[in-house]
Amino acid sequence: MKLRQLTGAEPGQPLKDQRLEGREFKARAFTAFLIILVALFLLSLRFVYLQIFNFEEFTARSINNQVRIVPVPPNRGLIYDRRGRPIAENRPAFRLELVPEKAGDLKQTIAELGQLVELPPDAYETFNENRKRYRVFDSVPLKFNLTEKEVARFAVDRHRFDGVDIVSYQARYYPYGDLLTHVLGYVGRLDVDDLNRVDQGNYRGTTHIGKAGIERFYEDELHGVSGIEKIETNAQGRILNSLERENPVHGDDLILALDVQVQQAAWDALGDRPGAVVAINPNDGSVLAMVSKPAFDPNLFVHGISGDDYRVILNAPGRPLFNRTLLGGYEPGSTIKPFLGLAGLESGAVKAEDRVFSSGQFFLPGVSRPFRDWKRGGHGWVDMIGALEQSVNTYFYELALELGIDRMHDYLALFGFGSPTGLDLMGENSGVLPSRAWKRGQFSEPWYPGETVIAGIGQGFNVVTPIQLANAAATLANGGTRFEPRLLYAVKHAGDRQAEKTIAPVRTQLSVTNPANWDLVHAGMRLVVHGEKGTARAIKPESGFEIAGKSGTAQVAAQAVDEDMDDTTATHLRHHALFIAFAPFENPSIAVAAVVEHGGGGSREAAPVARAVIDAWLSQEGVR
């Protein structure tokens, strides 16, 4: 019993030999120790393999892991008007970005995000389209311009969304809204089409690009050069710190020749009527105002306009998307007369003192229908000055026949009619400056004398754009120097203190046969405003400075010209009212073309608009 207790053996069991068992156990234990020794040796070899033989590969991979090279988009250049008022700014905003690779099920993630921030119903499809230009591990913008509420809501739930983050950025903002839309244009989301016209490497971090107007024309200057940043990220892709940074070169600031106050004056003067106003400084070709009305708020396009908003703009009366200053084609009407008068004098077809009798009706041999004066009964005997002052059609019917269509064409072409002015905006319309060759090319038809006659008062085939008309007026005002008009006044490169002034190139320098001819036409135009019988004498300034002008009326419906159109005529059938002017008379610093669609008479409707613009400009310049 004692022995059993001693060995721990149970009753009925054979006795154990503890000594033998102990020896056996030691052998086993020793074997086990050898086995673990070998196992540990093999395991160590594995670590040697990883840490010594593959050290370089894994080191490279660990560096790749943590370092990401991200583009740093430059700040877009700001735009100012000529007096330094900011007209296109950058404002801090927040956008939501998503790394597709990290986000898991994209559709579901976007659906869940949709509960925190407002997303359009097609957000997933749009996102899928946008991400094509990014690499899978890049962060792709999902929603721009988050509200403060959305930012706060997302911040609370951020932990639920791997690979989704809020990024601050500079959003374009146009403080003057629709006032400058047709000049500035706007920026919008960079899309695949845009990428084909830019250096893609430079746009890697860029989300917006100029889509229209100045923003598009000067895209390269405004955009700047993208920088690069090496950043350390953690496993969730969150940025921890910046290791190395090559700073971007920010975009150039642009100073436009435009004066917001003059622009505003033109805008206000047009009122509710669709129309266009262009004002150019005849001394340097800089564009002082450029209004096309109606317009739209460009800020709507910056963050991606919704389909509904876009349809509203598209279908709005007066076609706000249509830039009348560049694309609007109008009959010049009587505004062509000063140019033709000059053509007659300079070519010697007429002399200043030559007089024509206006009976109210002008007949062309073999044509029974009369060409009429706007004043019943006619103006009597008039010379060049008088013909301009009172806008006597008969005088210019005669002059046109004297010149012939081709000489008219050639001389008007010198003023820029029939071709784009070369303004620094895209998509300018050429207008139409007819000639025999043009008509043959266009219609395969010969030219008829009747067409020459009405061309003498700017009707028929003639089509001009407001920018052409304004530039021609400026050329007339400065004595024959035709600039390519410039909206850009100066460029301030990033980091520079001084802006670099833009010089508008001269397109044509007209050869002046006799300066007295120019003075004569100027004098006629002065009488339009200041003469006793001047058609626009209503806008005559009381004092301080003098204005030279010329009214015009463009036919809408086929109807005899009659500047005293009835107020009862339906609006859409009323003629377009035109007016060109420059001031001050002695030393002009502004030339204006104003078009009021369906305004009726040029002197009554368009002249006051031109006057308002001139007033605004001259008060800014300190002339009055």
Binding site: G8, A32, L40, F47, I52, N234
Partner: protein, 363 residues
Amino acid sequence: MRRFIPGWIQWPQLDVPLLLGLLLLMSFGLVVLYSASGENMDVVFRQGARLGVGLIAMLVLSQVPPHILRIWTPWLYVIGVLLLLATWFVGVGRGAERWLDLGLFRFQPSEIMKLAVPMMLAWYLHPRRLPPAPAALLTSCVILVVPAVLIARQPDLGTALLVAVSGGFVLFLSGLQWRVLLGMAGLALATAPALWLVMHEYQRNRVRTFLDPESDPLGSGWNIIQSKIAVGSGGLTGKGWLHGTQSRLEFIPERHTDFILAVLSEEMGLLGVIFLFSIYLFIAGRGLYVASLARTTYARLLAGSLSLTFFIYVLVNAGMVSGLLPVVGVPLPLISYGGTSVVTLLTGFGILMSIYGHRNFIR
């Protein structure tokens, strides 16, 4: 002097070399944990407290003579099995029902089995002639398989295998013939396909990922790839303590628990790894030495099995971190953050200490 000390404290009963080895390991572990937790002193203190609790458990157990433990063994085993059954009904935990909530604290019954299974087998074989006869072998297998299956269906395949292995070590140390051992190993391999069928999908994925981690580098392969990058980029001397980019930038998953070895490898390099392995080898070797000093079958088998099981943890964890084995939830003993395994392990070492301290008592 000596008689004023209560009788149950008998000097010297502590295995001083083993204790020093453990203390060195734990201190080293806390240093690594400080870095792995992102210099979080809270985490280090909490782990230090657990180690303290474990050490107290170890000291208390070292005073309990092995024959007392042997008497308690069947009860411990039965209670362990019953608790495992209880997790079927009242288990809490994320997906895997391995925890029992006891109000004050939660614990995993499977942890008890890590000790109870080798104890039970040692208890069963203690009075028998070794190597065990076929009938005894069969009974041993039942003692081993029942808890293993219960744990496997929690599901916690890693622990189940480790529990089975700890039992297997008892059989190995009992002097089982090599051909029988090989036969059993062959049988285990043959059941592997069947195991695949009863596996959960996430377990299958782990195996798939293990076989080809690069197939899904951001999904299930992430852990293995990032861990290997961490280890490999450590090189010979490492990136320096607190300077491991993989761990500090959170590329290493579970970096202060199961994958803490990756942090150590990255920051201290191959030299650090070899140093750690040396400590482990010393502790396991010392454990086997203690086992060979023991005078009773129960003590021998138990001490040997505990030492080998301890070492198996190291092998499995290091194999996992270095991409040799699939990702199974096995912590690096006494280094990984976490309470349960610390207490279990130190309790085991308490048993070893007891066996050492009572090696001259024949009972």
